[in-house]
């Protein structure tokens, strides 16, 4: 039976969604972190997911499952927000500061999608547990 593989698949998805939530939290926390140059300003981060089809370690007659892998966390290339704030202690010679290119609305929707996906995989694990338990009770009555 392939219950262990299913748990691994759901677990990998939960780990990937956790990374996604982590980047959202980091983006929202740093949304207002100003800086004096473009290079040192925080940029919005996003994880890149990929599926891993694994048939290894399985006996014959088993279909390949697909785990989720976080390939990389990439930085957004959107232009930074530039503001003229000469009174800001971080301002450069021209009196400008740079704000991160974090889109709060997009981050919030991303957060909702990530937590929903996480919950779905928790449901899968819960259902899997009950299936396994009733299989173990087979023949008891």
């Amino acid at each position: 039976m392939s219950f262990r593989h299913i748990a691994q698949i759901a677990g990998s998805a939960m780990a990937a969604q956790t990374v996604r939530l982590n980047t959202v939290a980091s983006n929202l926390a740093n949304a207002q972190s100003a800086s004096d140059s473009e290079a040192s300003t925080y940029r919005a981060r996003k994880p890149v997911f990929a599926s891993v089809f694994s048939a290894d370690g399985m006996g014959s007659g088993q279909l390949p499952g697909a785990r989720v892998q976080v390939l990389d966390v990439v930085e957004s290339t959107e232009p930074l927000r530039r503001a003229y704030e000469p009174e800001n202690p971080l301002a450069n010679e021209a009196g400008e500061v740079f704000y991160p290119n974090v889109n709060s609305v997009a981050e919030m929707t991303d957060m909702m999608a990530a937590s929903r996906a996480f919950e779905t995989n928790v449901e899968v694990l819960g259902r899997l547990k009950s299936m396994q338990q009733s299989l173990l009770r087979l023949g008891e009555g």
């Binding site: 996604r20 279909l63 785990r67």
Partner: protein, 121 residues
Amino acid sequence: MSIDFHKALGIHQDTLRLRAERTKVLASNIANESTPGYQSRDIDFAAALQSVLSDGEAGQGLETGDGGLQYRVPYHPSQDGNTVELGVEQAAFSQNASDFQTSLTFMNMKLKGLAKAIAGQ
């Protein structure tokens, strides 16, 4: 006269194994809900069961490789090439879990019948 469990349990052991395999495929779909380019897959249960049954008494020949897998046609194709639709997958998953329980119930009934025969009641 000995009891042959394989014969006694009949089709239900094959359906149970297929249901477990299908659970894995559907769990993969749900897990890859936000993976760009992932294509949702599913087992054609009737065809897979037919191929298991036509293998005869060996009974171990569940379609290997991708032979038994088919790609799902999405209702709303998305820009990133991902064809997982969470509602569809969740419905299929819970339907499959219920069918798994049904197969288990049938097996339990078979085993109960065997126990009765052994006890001679």
